[in-house]
C-alpha cells in the first residue's frame, strides 16, 4: 500500500513537471522551440561530424559506417535521456550546492533523491534528441540487418541505463567538490558532463591501448557509447567482458554515494555562506 502510494506520488511529481514544461512551451512557444531546435542541432552536429568522417573514410578503426551510425544513435539516445530528465540543474547539482540552494530542497517534504529524480523532467521541450536518437537507431538497425530479439532490447535498455548511471554518478562525484569550495566548483558538473562530451562520441576502435584503456577506466568516455555499442553489436572490445560497463557503473555509483553523502553531511554541519537567488527553479 505504502509502495503504491509512493509510486503514485512519484508519477504525480513527473506529471506536474510535464505540465509545467508544456505550459512553458505553450506560453513562450517561440523561445521554447528555438531552444529545442538549437539543442538538437548542437547535439546532431557533434555526431554528424564523426559520422561524416566515417563516411569519407569508409568507417573508423575497424568499425563500418553503419556501426558508427549505430554508435551515434546510442549516444544521441543517452544525451536525449539526460536532457529529458536533467532540466533544472538536478543533474548539474554542483550549481545548486555551490549557490547555497540545497536549503530550498530541504524545505520540501520529499527525500532529496525523489526531488532530484523528478524535478528536471521536461518531456515536451526536452525529448527532441531522444526521438531523433530513436530514428537514427532504427535506420542503423535496418542497415546493419540486426536481428532484434527481446533479449537484445533488454540488453539495450540495460546498457543505456548503465550509461546514464555513469553520467549522473560522475556528475555527482565531481559536484561533491562544491560542498567544500562552492564558488570554485559551482560549474564543475558542466565541465564533467559537457567538457568531454565530444570525446565520448568518438569511436575508439583502432586506437592504441594507452588511449583506449584510460578512456575506459580513469575517464569513462569510452563507456558512454563506444563500448556498449560494440557489446550490442556482439563484439566487446579489448577482450573485456560485456558486463564491464555494469561493474564500472556500480563501482562509480558506490564511490559517488559515499563521497556525496560525506559532502552533504559537511554541508548540514557547516552550512553554506553563499546564496545565489536564481537557478534552483526552471
Amino acid at each position: 500500500m505504502a509502495v503504491k502510494k509512493s509510486l503514485r506520488h512519484i508519477m504525480n511529481l513527473y506529471a506536474i513537471s510535464a505540465k509545467m514544461d508544456l505550459a512553458w512551451l505553450l506560453r513562450d512557444t517561440k523561445y521554447a522551440l528555438a531552444a529545442v531546435l538549437s539543442d538538437t542541432i548542437s547535439n546532431l552536429s557533434v555526431i554528424s561530424g564523426v559520422y561524416l568522417i566515417a563516411l569519407r573514410f569508409g568507417g573508423i578503426g575497424g568499425m563500418s559506417v553503419d556501426e558508427v551510425l549505430f554508435m551515434m544513435a546510442y549516444s544521441t539516445i543517452t544525451t536525449g535521456i539526460f536532457i529529458l530528465f536533467g532540466s533544472g540543474n538536478n543533474l548539474h547539482i554542483s550549481r545548486i550546492i555551490g549557490r547555497g540552494q540545497l536549503e530550498h530542497l530541504f524545505m520540501q517534504p520529499l527525500s532529496l533523491k525523489m526531488q532530484l529524480a523528478t524535478s528536471g523532467f521536461v518531456p515536451f521541450t526536452g525529448s527532441g534528441n531522444l526521438i531523433m536518437g530513436c530514428v537514427i537507431l532504427a535506420v542503423a538497425i535496418h542497415r546493419l540487418h540486426l536481428e532484434i530479439s527481446l533479449w537484445w532490447v533488454t540488453l539495450f535498455i540495460i546498457y543505456v541505463l548503465t550509461t546514464m548511471v555513469i553520467i549522473v554518478a560522475r556528475s555527482y562525484l565531481v559536484s561533491s567538490a562544491a560542498f567544500y569550495a562552492p564558488v570554485a566548483a559551482e560549474e564543475i558538473s558542466t565541465a564533467a558532463i559537457e567538457g568531454t562530451w565530444q570525446l565520448s562520441t568518438f569511436p575508439l576502435s583502432g586506437m592504441p591501448d594507452f588511449i583506449q584503456i584510460p578512456l575506459l577506466t580513469i575517464l569513462p568516455e569510452g563507456l558512454m557509447a563506444w563500448f556498449p555499442s560494440l557489446c550490442l553489436l556482439g563484439r566487446p572490445p579489448l577482450h573485456l567482458t560485456e558486463a564491464y560497463p555494469l561493474a564500472y557503473a556500480l563501482l562509480l555509483a558506490l564511490t559517488t554515494n559515499f563521497v556525496f553523502r560525506k559532502g552533504l553531511n559537511d554541508y548540514v554541519r557547516k552550512g553554506s555562506n553563499r546564496y545565489v537567488p536564481y537557478g534552483f527553479r526552471r
Binding site: H9, H104, M107, P109, L110, V268, K270, P277
Partner: protein, 339 residues
C-alpha cells in the same frame, strides 16, 4: 521522546561555525596556502527556550547574533553541534520530511515561487509536492486569495511581481498546506508601509483564528512589537532576554519621549531630559520616567513659560533595543579584556 506541550523546544543547543581568515599581503597569501587560518564563530552558545503552541513570538538580535542559524536549525537545514531540538514533537534533523508537511518557512530574501511561471502554477506545484488534499487546497487557496489580496496576482509570472507582491504570493504559498507552525526570517524586509501592514494583519489573523504558532525575526522592532506577544532576544549566541515587550521596556528603564510645542521664541529646559531634536517650535526629549516621575515632569513643565502643547509617549522600541545592543556590546568587549 520529544516534548509534546511545546511547538518548539531548544535544549542546550550550540552551533559553531568557522570562518576563513586571510590578509591581502603577499606573506598572508603564502601563509594561507601553507596553513589556512580559520576563526571560530559561536552562532549559538548553549541556547535553551521553548515556544508554546499557538504562541506568536519574536526573535530579535543584532546582525550576526544567530537568528537565521536558529531558523535553519529549527527547519532541519543545519545540524546542531550539541543539544536537542524539537519542533511539533519532531526532530528537524531526523524527521525532516514529516516535519516539512507541518511546518511553513519563509526567508524574506528568498522565494519559493517558480520564476518563469504564473503564481498559480507554483501553488499547483506545491499541492502535488506536499500532497495537499483537494478540499484543503481549495479552502486554503480561497483564504489566502481573500486575506492577502492575491486575486490579481495569480495569473502573473513571478518574475514580474514587485517585492511586496512576491512576498504576499510567497506567504500565500507557504500556507497552502495548513502548517501548524510558521518560521519567518525577515518577512518584512524591503516592504513598503502598505505591504508591511497587510502582512502583519494577515499573520496576526492566522495566529489568532487558526492557532498557528509563529516565530518571526525582523530588524524592524516596531513591527515585531505590533505582531508578537513575546520577544526572545539573542546576542552573541546567547538568549539575552525572554519576556514581553513591556518587560523589555522596563529592563531599560521607562524610556519615554516628551514632545513639547512652544510659543515662538520660547525654549523649554527640562531637567533629566535629553534633547533629541527641535524645529518649528517643537522640541523632542528623551527621558527615563523611573528617574523622573511623571508628577515631577508635569510640575517642571507647569513652570516653563510659553508651553502650548505637551505629548508624552513611549519611546520607539528601536531606541530601547539600540540601548540594549550597546550595553551587550559593551559587556562583551569588557568581558574580552579589550577595555
Amino acid at each position: 521522546m520529544y516534548p509534546t506541550d511545546f511547538a518548539v523546544s531548544m535544549n542546550h543547543v550550540t552551533k559553531v561555525f568557522s570562518q576563513w581568515q586571510r590578509d591581502n599581503t603577499k606573506a598572508g597569501m603564502i601563509r594561507n596556502l601553507l596553513k589556512p587560518e580559520k576563526r571560530r564563530i559561536t552562532a549559538l552558545d548553549d541556547v535553551s527556550f521553548t515556544i508554546r503552541k499557538g504562541e506568536f513570538a519574536a526573535y530579535a538580535g543584532p546582525n550576526g547574533a544567530g537568528k537565521s542559524t536558529t531558523m535553519k536549525l529549527l527547519s532541519g537545514m543545519l545540524l546542531p553541534d550539541s543539544g536537542d531540538i524539537s519542533v511539533l514533537s519532531l526532530s528537524p534533523q531526523k524527521q525532516r520530511i514529516q516535519l516539512m508537511r507541518r511546518l511553513g518557512i519563509l526567508f524574506g530574501n528568498r522565494t519559493e515561487l517558480w520564476w518563469d511561471h504564473p503564481v498559480i502554477q507554483s501553488f499547483e506545484w506545491k499541492k502535488v509536492v506536499w500532497e495537499i488534499p483537494d478540499e484543503i487546497y481549495r479552502r486554503n487557496l480561497a483564504t489566502v486569495i481573500d486575506l492577502l489580496d492575491l486575486g490579481n496576482l495569480l495569473q502573473t509570472f513571478a518574475r514580474e511581481l514587485s517585492l511586496g507582491q512576491r512576498m504576499r504570493a510567497d506567504l500565500g504559498m507557504m500556507l497552502l498546506h495548513s502548517p501548524g507552525i510558521i518560521l519567518l526570517d525577515e518577512p518584512t524586509l524591503g516592504l513598503d508601509v502598505v505591504a508591511k501592514r497587510q502582512m502583519i494583519n494577515f499573520l496576526k489573523k492566522i495566529n489568532k483564528d487558526n492557532d498557528v504558532t509563529i516565530l518571526v525575526t525582523s530588524h524592524d522592532m516596531d513591527d515585531l512589537e505590533e505582531m508578537a506577544e513575546r520577544i526572545l532576544m539573542i546576542s552573541s549566541g546567547k538568549i539575552a532576554f525572554d519576556g514581553s515587550f513591556t518587560e523589555l521596556r522596563a529592563k531599560t528603564g521607562n524610556l519615554t519621549r516628551i514632545v513639547v510645542t512652544m510659543e515662538k521664541g520660547c525654549f523649554p529646559e527640562l531637567e533629566g531630559g535629553n534633547l533629541l531634536s527641535y524645529g518649528n517650535e517643537v522640541f523632542e526629549y528623551d527621558m527615563d520616567l523611573t528617574e523622573m516621575p511623571v508628577r515631577n515632569l508635569l510640575g517642571q513643565l507647569s513652570t516653563v513659560r510659553g508651553v502650548r502643547d505637551v505629548e508624552i509617549k513611549k519611546a520607539p522600541i528601536e531606541q530601547v533595543i539600540a540601548g540594549l545592543y550597546r550595553d551587550w556590546n559593551f559587556d562583551k568587549t569588557a568581558g574580552s579584556g579589550n577595555i
